[in-house]
Each structure stands twice: as structure tokens, then as C-alpha cells.
């Protein structure tokens, strides 16, 4: 029985990397969004430039289910390499759309799916002479065909193309023509629409579709970052590029045409973080962007910045580790290596946004926290958040909110100040006052060092001042705990003793999982952690539930370790649900794992009729 579904399906495109499919697929996805239907597109791509298989999947969901779902209702099979494997992933009753220029082998791979063949290569060969055009417009032709098959308004597609190719009329005409070749061919030959289709809705509202890396780069511009030292590494590269692109738009001095920012591609991650530490020390808001291997290389500098108390912002777009691991797959596996980065006793502030909206917000505030606390702040993205487009509430910025530059003594402050001690805890919050080089001719100069020192920044190896300083850093960590974003609680409709804790990109799948569980009669309270050091509310949540699941996208239950280390929680009280194969976690997986671990609901005893 073919699937019948309106505004609720998953379509998967199987393409060859470097074939120009990405922009065509994005056009397809955005056209559905423009029709008012929520979408969640995801790229599944190899560490490769050209030739290897790549997939693009769009979940269409009127209800706004934006996590990965798993499976595919329609497959657009454009890659012979993966043809059989792709077909196997189609849901029973699903649809296969393929290039029928050559006969399919075997001729009927499955008897429970609907097969739609369109001779795309043959059509392109007839329409275009240039091989590159044949390749590129093949993608647009199948998008046009899908518009007919899924009842997507082709005018919406044309409008989007017109926006994309504004000022490039020749390209626009060519794209329009290709769209119509596909659309007309499908209309003429197939029964349109299929059982699966799109219908106009107003479920998108004013939401935007954006990648987390773009949101972070833009957030760094809004947050006042002026120095970016970085080194290219997947999946963080597009974050640095987004910063530069937005700087080129917003940070050019109108009078002189000069840049109000410095963007330096360093020779490696060590130099990248060194640049950031130097700039932070000298009073600029500075950041780097990297992924797991870069975090490893930067360790020594993180310890210096922690101990010398230099504001630093680090964006870690996590990928599959260890080592080179799975550079194009997602994981939450750098939690521990960031939280306790470097040698000696160190611990650092982490911010854990759930998607681009919070990424933008946290990217701005990360610079405030770093300067307020004079310490490194890690913004923990992952590949799913960073490199996939997500539907999210529009970015907002409060113009009345000033940057928090923290405790900095100006020239005039130094005139008034008594005996300046760089590491003196004047306010009792563990955060000392700092001065900038060049601020005052005779006051406020001090020596910054990674070696131990007394409250007046004088070198010492005596135990008492060393311990005094280390204890103050602990007080500062407690100050951080009180400042950082608090966890977000989603309470079940009815009181329940089952709790689930999650963070980061798991949020979308968790939201759906909680609903699915509730529909199955399982009520769970869900708590989303947003920062480390951890809020005491997390301990309260654990205490107030009999069974607590901690859902993570890593092998070693790293958040569970943080919870036991930072809040003193009993690990026996925390049941881990782990998903770390590199693909985004799904609601289906969470529901299955939680359901499997809960005692089976006791069935009502049937009383045997005795007669």
C-alpha cells in the first residue's frame, strides 16, 4: 500500500559529491518552506571533494518535528554507487525516483515501493551540448519534476531562483527552463501528485532557515569580536568564513574603507589560539573556531589562559573522534576535553546551544562571559548544528544591552586606585581587576605569566600564595556557575517520576520523543542543560525523579561524568542513553531506548470469569 501523507514525510536525495546537487536540493527544500510548511534539511556528506556518495535529506513536518527521523519515504536516486543500499532504506510503501536512461538492475529491486523512472541523462543530452551544463541542469530538472510529483508550487521555485540569480538574467532563464523541462515531463507522464504531497500551510511563521556556523559567525560580529585567529578544519571552517563575510558587510569603516576587524588564518591551531590569547590579553574581543583535533592542539594555551586569566572565546564544532575519526559526522564527544582542557587543575566554562537561534545568542554573550570572568569560554556546537540548516526563530538583538567588558581599570580608574594587585580578589567573587597595556604611564603595569605568582603578579613558588590563587580560581568558577544560562525544563502534562536530561543538538529529537512517549502513556520531564559549570537545578532535578536518563551523542557518557564530578551526583542514579554512530540522534531511537529501560506498564489483570 503506497504511503499517503500530506506535509509529513522524509525525502532523501542520493547524489555524487561535487555534482552541483547541493544548490538544487536547497532550492527544493526552501520552496516547501516558502509554502509555509516546516522543513528540516540535513546533509550527509563524505570527507571528499569530488566523487564519493553524498546524501541530502529533507524532513517535511507540518507539526514542526525538526529532528532527524530515520528512513526515507521518497528516494531520489542519482548515484549508481549506492543505488541498492539507498533503495533498501526506503520505508515500505515508499517511492523511488530514478534516472531511467539506463535500465535498472535488477529490474524490480523491491515490490513494496512505487517506482518512477525519468530518463534524466537522455533529456539533458538532448537539451544541452555542454557536459557541465548537462550535469548541473540535470539536478534542476529533477527538482522541477518533484514539484509536479509532490504538488509544490513551481512559481515559488521560480521566485526563489530569481532571488538567487538576481542580476544574472542568463543563469536565471537557464534555471527556469530546466525547472519547466522537469515539471512538464513529470506532469505529462505521471499521475501527479503522488500519495505523498505538499500543501500550503502557515506553520512556518516568521522563522528563518539557517546554519549554526553562520549564526555563530554573525553572533561573533554582534558580540564585538575584532580578532579571529583560526585554522581550517571541518566542520568549523564555515564558521570562520561566516564571520569574515559578515565583517565584510558590517565592519568596513565608511570613511576610510578600512577593516574594523582582523581575520588571520594561522599556520596551525596552536598559533590560532596564541593569536587569540595575545589579542584577549591586549583588550580585543577575540576568538578561534575549531573542532576536536584543534582542541587537542590548543590544550597548553587553554591552561595558560585559565591561569593567567585571559578572556578567550573558542567555538568547537564537534565531529566524530577520536583522532581524524569521522570528520564529516556529528558527535558530542569533546565535552570532557574542553571542560578540563590542559594540564594541572583546570576547568572551563562551556556553553551548549541547541541550534542556530541559541548559537547566535550564546555567541554574543560568550564574549561577555569571557571578559566578565577573564577566562576561556567554549561554545560547543556540533556538525549537525553547525553545518545543517535549521528552522529557528528569527535572530534578535537588544540594542539597549551594552557589552559587559568586565573589570578593567581605565587610566582614570588607575589615577584613583590605591595599590593595584592584578590577582587581588577585591570583590570576593574570585574575579580580579585587570589593566590594558599602555593604559597609564606609571600605574597598572604588571607581568602576565603561566608560572605561579602572588596577588601582585610577582613570581613565587611558595605554597601559600599558590594555594591562595588556586582557591580564588575556584571561587571564580562558582561565580561563573551563577552567571551562566540556566537549564530549561519541559514538564510533562502529568506529574512523573521519570526524568530525562539532554543538551545541544539532541533537543529537536528529544522534543519529539517526549511527545511520542506521552502518546504511548509514558510521561517524562525533560531538562536541557545549557552550560558548564552545571546549575544546581540539575541536581534538584535528579533528586526529584526516581529514574533519570542522560541522553548523549558520545560513547563514554561524558555529560554523566561531568554531572558526577561537578555536582557530586551518584552515577548509579543516572542511566545513559548513548548514540554516537555519527548520524544525528532520532526521536525513534530515544523512544525505543527509554521504553526498553522502563518497567513494562503493568497490564490490568483480567479476572477470569467463574461461572
Amino acid at each position: 500500500m503506497p504511503i499517503h501523507a500530506v506535509n509529513d514525510f522524509v525525502i532523501r536525495f542520493a547524489n555524487v559529491n561535487g555534482s552541483g546537487s547541493a544548490s538544487a536540493n536547497l532550492l527544493f527544500a526552501r520552496s516547501i518552506m516558502r509554502m509555509g510548511v516546516p522543513i528540516a534539511p540535513r546533509n550527509i556528506f563524505p570527507s571528499n571533494i569530488q566523487g564519493l556518495p553524498t546524501w541530502y535529506e529533507v524532513r517535511v513536518s507540518e507539526k514542526g518535528r525538526l529532528g532527524a527521523r530515520g528512513g526515507a519515504d521518497i528516494l531520489v536516486a542519482m548515484n549508481p554507487q549506492t543505488f541498492m543500499q539507498d533503495i533498501a532504506a526506503i520505508e515500505p510503501g515508499g517511492y523511488l525516483f530514478y534516472d531511467s536512461t539506463r535500465p535498472m538492475a535488477p529490474s524490480a529491486p523491491r515490490d513494496d515501493i512505487t517506482v518512477i523512472g525519468m530518463p534524466l541523462t537522455e533529456i539533458c543530452a538532448a537539451e544541452y551540448n555542454d557536459p557541465r551544463q548537462r550535469q548541473l541542469y540535470k539536478n534542476i530538472i529533477y527538482v522541477g519534476a518533484l514539484a509536479a510529483l509532490l504538488d509544490i508550487d513551481v512559481v515559488v521555485m521560480e521566485t526563489l531562483a530569481a532571488e538567487t540569480f538576481k542580476g544574472k538574467e542568463r543563469l536565471l532563464d537557464a534555471n527556469r527552463r530546466a525547472l519547466h523541462i522537469g515539471y512538464d515531463h513529470a506532469k505529462a507522464r505521471f499521475d501527479c501528485p503522488l500519495g505523498i504531497r505538499v500543501r500550503r500551510s502557515d506553520a512556518v511563521g516568521d522563522r528563518i532557515l539557517v546554519e549554526g556556523n553562520f549564526a555563530a559567525g554573525l553572533g561573533a560580529v554582534y558580540g564585538g569580536a575584532t580578532v579571529c585567529g583560526w585554522y581550517p578544519i571541518t566542520p568549523s571552517t564555515s564558521l570562520a568564513e561566516a564571520f569574515e563575510r559578515n565583517c565584510a558587510r558590517f565592519r568596513i569603516d565608511p570613511a576610510t574603507g578600512k577593516k574594523n576587524y582582523a581575520f588571520v588564518q594561522a599556520e596551525d591551531e596552536i598559533a590560532a589560539i596564541g593569536i587569540v590569547v595575545g589579542a584577549g590579553w591586549n583588550g580585543a574581543r577575540a576568538f578561534t573556531t575549531t573542532s576536536g583535533p584543534g582542541i587537542s592542539l590548543m590544550q597548553e594555551f587553554f591552561g595558560l589562559a585559565y591561569f593567567a586569566e585571559v578572556p578567550v572565546v573558542v567555538f568547537d564544532v564537534q565531529r566524530g573522534g577520536p583522532s581524524t575519526g569521522m570528520p564529516t559526522r556529528t558527535q558530542q564527544s569533546d565535552l570532557l576535553s574542553c571542560a578540563f582542557a590542559s594540564h594541572g587543575d583546570t576547568k572551563h566554562v562551556l556553553l551548549m546551544p541547541d541550534g542556530p537561534g541559541e548559537v547566535f545568542e550564546f555567541s554574543g554573550s560568550a564574549f561577555d562571559f569571557a571578559e566578565r570572568l577573564q577566562t576561556p569560554v567554549f561554545v560547543m556546537l556540533d556538525l549537525d548544528i553547525g553545518m545543517n540548516s535549521h528552522l529557528t526563530a528569527p535572530f534578535r538583538w537588544d540594542d539597549s544591552r551594552p557589552y559587559d567588558r568586565g573589570k578593567v581599570l581605565s587610566h582614570d580608574d588607575l589615577e584613583r586606585a590605591g595599590n593595584f594587585g592584578r590577582y587581588n580578589d577585591v570583590d570576593g567573587d574570585g574575579v580580579p581587576y585587570r589593566t590594558m597595556p599602555g593604559a597609564h604611564p606609571t600605574r597598572g603595569a604588571y607581568f602576565t605569566r603561566g608560572t605561579s605568582r602572588d596577588r601582585f603578579a610577582r613570581y613565587t613558588e611558595d605554597a601559600t600564595p599558590y594555594v591562595d590563587n588556586m582557591e580564588r580560581l575556584l571561587r571564580k568558577f562558582e561565580t561563573a556557575r551563577s552567571l551562566l544560562p540556566r537549564p530549561i525544563l519541559r514538564k510533562a502534562a502529568r506529574p512523573t517520576r521519570v526524568g530525562v536530561i539532554h543538551y545541544g543538538s539532541t533537543a529537536a529529537a528529544m522534543d519529539e520523543a517526549v511527545d511520542l512517549l506521552a502518546a504511548n502513556g509514558v510521561d517524562v520531564d525533560a531538562l536541557r542543560i545549557r552550560a558548564f559549570p552545571l546549575s544546581r537545578e540539575i541536581a534538584d532535578f535528579v533528586q526529584s525523579h526516581d529514574q533519570v536518563f542522560v541522553v548523549e551523542q558520545n560513547r563514554d557518557a561524558q555529560m554523566r561524568t561531568l554531572m558526577t564530578a561537578d555536582l557530586g551526583l551518584d552515577p548509579a542514579r543516572l542511566t545513559s542513553i548513548l548514540h554516537y554512530g555519527g548520524m544525528s540522534i532520532t526521536a525513534r531511537y530515544i523512544v525505543r531506548e527509554i521504553s526498553g529501560r522502563l518497567p513494562k506498564p503493568v497490564a490490568k489483570k483480567t479476572v477470569e470469569a467463574v461461572s
Partner: protein, 351 residues
Amino acid sequence: MSYLAKPKFQHPSLEVNALGFTHRDYEGSMSTLCAGCGHDSISAAIVRACFELSLPPHRIAKLSGIGCSSKTPTYMLGQSHGFNSVHGRMPSVLTGANLANRDLIYLGVSGDGDTASIGLGQFAHAMRRGVNMVYIVENNGVYGLTKGQFSATADRGSKSKKGVDATDEPIDLVALAIQLGASFVARSFSGDKAQLVPLIKAAFEHRGAAFIDVISPCVTFNNHAGSTKSFDYVREHNIAVNALDVITGRSTIEVDYAEGDRQDVLMHDGSTIRLHKLEAGLDVSDRSAAFGMLERHRFAGEIATGLVYLNEGARELHESLDTTHRPLNELGQEVLCPGSKALQAINASLR
């Protein structure tokens, strides 16, 4: 080292510079290096150069890595902010500091282990970028704090105190700096104050990456027979290829050297350096001549000292990046933050 605190008194008739500071105002705390260490002579030369140039001490930022040499910023310029960073990574920290505030004067102090061994990569890339700084390597060919291991500048065949031969090819930081794009490159000897002070002054006047390799014998671990960086060896093999005077707009320095073949170079800040060429035919603006000269003296077993290469037309990092003339750390929120209105347009483009 001495454990006695530095006395605070000074002679009432102590010489005063244009800013009204005495030499003492450029000093730092008491050195903790071994008595007779060449590094202390270099610190003294830096203090002298800054005093003579009347540099405002608080406008200097002094940065270093790790090692004996990297400790020395504590022993000079007590009114300047300092940053003793991590081993071999001073160049990147200095680069970042420089990006944040282009108006300060940056002094990087490093050693041969810190620069030529662990830090070779960062050294190379800072030179390539043309970071506006004075980068001084206090080169003794040996690790002091860890007790006498060779560094990458130790000459092949040189003997360590324990009798071990250096078997690897040494790195010539001067040749490397020229190749990598440093625009002011010199070599000197810690024991030759008359040559070193003007070189440091000229380096401060230069805009761009100024590098000085200062041979600085280690009295404890590298001052024995068989070492090619001992006091005696360097004194015997030191060949000055030129001598120079720095003539600032503020004061004229007495010329100490005999008049000979002269070369005047106008610096960016309006000062002039006057070179007295001791080696015929050496034009410091000629890169290939500089390489040839270094190679000739190396072959003869000599250490060529003096200004080796100068390019006053080189671009420094801020020019390459086209950054604004205002220090980035002074830009306010009104300049940095595009505001909510611009955000509306961004949101609209993402629908």
C-alpha cells in the same frame, strides 16, 4: 644571581632623556640569571636603547616564551606590561596583541631553543606576516634551565659540557629570517654593546618585522673549550660587517666609528640610520648579497655581525590586512555591533 634587592637611590645628576626619564626608569627587577650571563648584557642594551630613544615605557609591550632568555623581560622595562607565554609560542601571542592594538611598541624576547627548536614554525610565520615588532633571540646554543642540552642553533661538531658532539646541521636564524620576509635582520654579540645598542635602536625605529640574533654565551653550560658559542670563541671569530648610528629626529647621536663607505637609510618614522660599511660591496638592501655574505663568513668559520638586511619598503601585517588605523581594542559597541535593524534584513534573507 644576587639575592639582594636592587637599591632605589640614584645619582642626582643621572642623565635624563626627552621624556624626563632616567636610565633607571627603564630597568626591571633584579635578574635571577647566572652571574655573567650574556642575556643580562642584552637586557642592559635593550634598556639603554629604549632610554636613548625616549620610548614611553608604558607604550612598550614585552613578550616572551619559556627559557632563560624568556625570563629576561622581568629584568627590564618595569613600567611596561609583560607576557611570559608558553614555550615557543611567543610569536603568535605577540601577533594577537599587535592585532588588538597596533599603536603599542612590541618587543619579543626569545631564545634559541624557544625560537629555533620548539618555536621554529611560529617564528617562521610571524616573519612571513611581517608583524611590526622587534624580535630578539638571545642565542647561546644550549638549554639552560634543563641543564645543558643542545638547541637547534648549536654548530655541528660543537661539544657540550658533558663532551657530547652536536651532530645535526645548525639553523641560521638570520638567513632564515631574511628568506621568510623579515625586513630588518641583524646579528650581534652580547659582549659588544657598542654594536648592539644602535642595532636595537634601529630595530625599534623600523616598521615591520625586525629580527636580531644575539650570540649570548651561556656561562654555565656553553662556555667551555669546544663550544662555538663561548665568550672566547665568539670574540675570536666575530667579524663585524658594518657598524651603524641611529639618527632620530629628536637628537643626534655622536658617531663613534671611523668614516668609511657610508650608507644612509631613512626610516618610516623620519629617523635615519647611517651604516658604516666595513665589508666592501655589502649593500644591506640586497637579499642575495646578504645570503652570500653569510655563507662566505660561515665557510671561513666566522660569525658575521652587524645589520645584514634591511627593506624599508616592506608591508607590515596591518597593511596587508588593511585594518583600521585605530587600535581594534578601542573600537566601541557603536562601531562593532550592526544592531537590531540590520538583523531584520538578515532574517528576511533567510526565509
